[in-house]
Point group: C2
Chain length 319, copies 2
């Protein structure tokens, strides 16, 4: 009889029942993810939820960790899980909430709504001139996982011409007009009116957006980072905005989170900062999808079925 610990946000009875039905004969316990302590993990074979990585020191009994998040970069680091532990994510569950906030931020920048909000706070009735549009814009989407594809569909629905850039060769999905490999980024980068990054955190993506790459972008380009903060160093982004290498940016993720209160980024007029808020369970639909994925994978793991969203420890990406 395996012991299963579910550490997600508070679930309703229907959601709990979905998980219970997925592991008949197991001993299952539920705890709010915010209340988890090291003793909860002790002797558990299966964890469903995003236990703080610092609480995990290669626990002996743990066989299978299904995290509640879409990324798992914090769990593939050495010493967090013992070799052989199966690690799966909830990739896909967060696509809607992240992509929707990212496209809202994109449109906000194009329409100067952040500057109009600032003007409102100064009681100023001031026309801020020319605005942009997604209609006809070339939008470069970095990372074509579930979130990148969701964003691409929204952008296309609003009239954008979407160029997808991804790590591995595959057939071009319908949601993009053109597709390139990450190695080809420098060739397509100067064409983009908007660059939206959903790159996950990994050695390969760390500081991907260098000062040189910002210089290669259109000076009218809007840069949006809703992937992971390591993809761009704070000082590089700051300089790109201060020097007018790009027109504006909207960023939800930072190398250091929370962003320190004395960071010079806060006061950049053309940078819209959100506190890594696009994910989580801010849309009610998200938790429902998380529970569905967890229940399916729990059942598959116990019955030797095929798991979804298995993480490759070498790359930190989905296998």
């Amino acid at each position: 009889m395996k012991r299963v610990l579910v550490a997600l946000p508070t679930l309703n009875e229907n959601q709990k029942e979905k998980l219970r039905s997925a592991c008949p004969g197991c001993e299952i316990s539920f705890i709010n993810e915010k209340e988890i302590t090291p003793s909860n993990i002790d002797g558990v074979e299966i964890i469903i939820g995003s236990v703080p990585p610092a609480m995990l020191h290669s626990p002996e009994s743990l066989e299978f960790l299904q995290v509640g998040s879409s990324g798992a970069d914090a769990y593939v680091r050495e010493g967090v899980l013992k070799p052989g532990t199966v690690l799966t994510t909830c990739t896909g569950a967060y696509s809607q909430t992240v992509a929707e906030q990212a496209i809202t931020a994109t449109m906000m920048m194009l329409k100067k709504m952040h500057l109009y909000r600032d003007a409102q706070n100064r009681h100023e009735w001031t026309d801020l001139g020319t605005v942009g549009s997604l209609d006809g814009a070339v939008v470069l989407v970095m990372g074509l996982g579930e979130i990148g594809k969701y964003y691409s569909r929204l952008a296309k629905a609003l009239g954008a011409y979407v160029i997808g850039v991804k790590r591995r060769a595959s057939d071009k999905p319908d949601c993009v007009d053109e597709m390139y490999l990450t190695d080809e980024f420098d060739e397509v980068c100067p064409r983009a009116d908007v660059i939206v990054s959903f790159l996950p955190g990994s050695a390969a993506t760390t500081h991907f957006y260098t000062a040189e790459r910002f210089r290669a972008m259109k000076s009218s380009c809007v840069f949006v980072n809703y992937g992971r903060g390591v993809a761009v160093a704070a000082d590089v982004l700051e300089e790109a905005l201060r020097n007018g290498e790009i027109a504006a940016a909207a960023v939800d993720v930072f190398e250091t989170e929370p962003l320190p209160a004395d960071s010079p980024l806060w006061d950049l007029e053309n940078l819209v900062i959100t506190p890594h808020s696009s994910g989580f369970y801010h849309l009610p639909a998200t938790l429902e999808r998380v529970v569905d994925i967890c229940a399916k994978n729990l059942s598959a793991y116990l019955n030797g079925g095929e798991l979804m969203n298995v993480v490759d420890f070498k790359t930190g990406y989905k296998k």
Copy 2:
């Protein structure tokens, strides 16, 4: 030989040529709309552009006024034009720019991006909790002219269920899921997650959104006014927001414009104010469309062809 005055923003040679070709044999002159003086109007038979209404006192010679704007309510008032003057608008040219800013504002409110911008300005990394989505939301679009239809298409592309409300019975256009007449507003109002108003200014639309109607809305409703300011009195909107009758509002138009610097509206956290900036020529595509409409109507007027966007002086609406 008729005299034609073109008073639009500064046109390029290609745009001027389009208008010249539309009125061969006429004496045509161009002036930037901001530099027009009463002497420019004197003795002119045709004006293309939005001459300030205060400059018009039923000018004797004027036969045809093609305004550059989408609305013409300021020109149908008594004493502005002499009876019999033909009045046409550029309805349609502004649909994209207005609808795009309106949907950006809608999404911004649903995603709390205005509050995140305020938090940013305070250097605060604070999670603001649950957000909404257009996906699955019931969006009530008041006014199904070109702008209302454009907005409806965008909202549907983003997953909304769109209810259109219009003045006159007609076949339901594909861009809406249900359609009602203005008289039926009170029946559908409580169903709406978002109410977007594109009502023009007229006697019938003045103070349409009464305190009673705000009370009938969902307390979670987002109200967006991108039509004309007369549709809602400032104090009624203020009370609706302060009392929590609705969750938030985004307003581009006011009864008094510019909004006075001491208006209590400026400081309402859940109200996003823009300075009637959605229209004008802020999108480059708009001026191109305006010139096309003006050239077609100029040619039609001179050759007895069918005019587009003719204003009915009795209603202030398109005939």
